[in-house]
């Protein structure tokens, strides 16, 4: 059933997978908000490692730059500005938790079963190309130029909107 060779890539995959899952689980289960952001940053870094394994180094380092760096710092910045002394401790709800656990296990079983039984078409050898950064750039500025520019306009509008909202509240 588990017919895989133990290669360096396989080991690296498992290390990154453990980082991502541990980060995601800790993100939910930790109590202090700053700790949550750190575990989320760890999950982002693990994802970047996955992209490197997939030969997508441009996406990988953009992931580190934007998510692990900028977004995490921004969130910590926001959190520090607010006071978080009395984090509410939720009362345990046994029935609710049991049902949630059963549901999660069922979902896992379903996904695991369908992935194991699925018949993947072997989709030819993947060609990472010489310079995928160049390829991404060319795609963005030729075939996808309109969506790309629209997206940047959307971000600018959101940015200006946020400033306008914040200004209104400050006045």
């Amino acid at each position: 059933m588990f017919n895989v060779d133990i290669t360096g890539e396989y080991i690296a995959f498992f290390i990154f997978a453990v980082i991502i899952i541990a980060g995601a689980v800790l993100m939910i289960s930790l109590e202090k908000v700053v700790h949550m952001v750190i575990s989320m940053a760890a999950a982002f870094l693990g994802l970047a490692g996955m992209y490197v394994l997939l030969d997508a180094e441009f996406v990988a380092f953009v992931q580190v730059l934007i998510y692990a760096g900028a977004v995490s710092i921004l969130m910590i910045f926001g959190i520090m500005m607010t006071k978080h002394n009395g984090e509410a401790v939720e009362t345990a709800k046994p029935l609710h938790e049991t049902l949630a656990a059963v549901g999660a296990l069922c979902l896992f079983g379903l996904l695991f079963y369908s992935i194991r039984t699925a018949d993947f078409q072997s989709a030819g050898a993947f060609d990472p190309g010489q310079d995928n950064t160049l390829a991404i750039g060319e795609q963005l500025f030729t075939g996808y130029i309109v969506p790309f520019e629209l997206l940047s306009i959307l971000l600018t509008v959101a940015f200006i909107g946020a400033i306008a909202l914040a200004k209104k509240e400050a006045d």
Binding site: G8, F58, V64, L65, G69, A70, S72, I76, F77
Partner: protein, 337 residues
Amino acid sequence: MGAWLNEPLTWGSALILFLWAALFLLIVLGFVTYAIYYERKVIGWMQLRIGPNRVGPLGLFQTVADIFKLLIKEDTIPRKADRLLFIIAPALAFIPSFTVLAVIPYTEKLYFADLNVGLLYYVALSGITTLAMVLGGWASNNKYALLGGMRSAAQMISYEVPLVISIVGVILLSGSLNLRDIVAAQDGGWFWNWNLFPQIIGFIVFFIAAVSELNRTPFDLPEAESELVAGYHVEYSGFRFAFFMLAEYVYVYAIAALTTVLFLGGWHAPAPFLDFVPGIIWFLLKFAFIVFSLFWIRATFPRVRVDQLMSLGWKVLLPVALLNVFLTALYLELFVK
């Protein structure tokens, strides 16, 4: 180095790569030790003092003694600090500073990683150190440390934007994010082929933003000792404090090497008849000059105010960097194509 990097990874080659990394770490530590000594000497001379001259001949062992003192100091962790983050933060600050050095090429043959997106790798990983500084400041549970951490985050985010955009001109000229290709693109024999002259606007923006990223005077607000006691590392002592300082000086190394590679032609000689001097000597000379300039700036400039800092970053450097990208693109479109 290239031959080893492209071999399949066996235990033997992994050991060789590990030993190279360890040797490189020792070289970097040696650089940091003597950069601190040299900085104190240079600033001393500029202020008509002698500088350290007691420990060893010419004071050469002063930094060694200082580091030894730091290592044997009592390691204190404030009782109300967030223990785990307080311990992690110094390591988290240092690790990216050392890993970014992997992509710097020293000569045509001597480099540690031939990465396709080298420049992006540098910029992305150096952002993690900011996270560590903020965390260190927050975990200390001290208002001065928190203020220092906040300032450092605000400053480093604001200046990372012009820093990255000022490099875009260089990337446009050389058509690659690979630092080796960027140096190769500056090969014309003469010094005016270096990116310094066609990219003079980019270079000025880059250098100002780099000094700011390093948290050095005139932009050392995160550790302004007269306002914040010491900044984000006020609660740190001994070994952990040494790690923060180490990270800062390793970034001096990294920025000086990056400036050399991006703007000063890396290992290329300034004139064709000087080609007989090996490339590594040219690299080291340019590198040493940049490091000296950083100390020079520290000795001669007053600190800027925090509000001036932000408006300089966003209202001056960013538009100038964007203008530089526009001019470079226009030049390439009109004259090169």
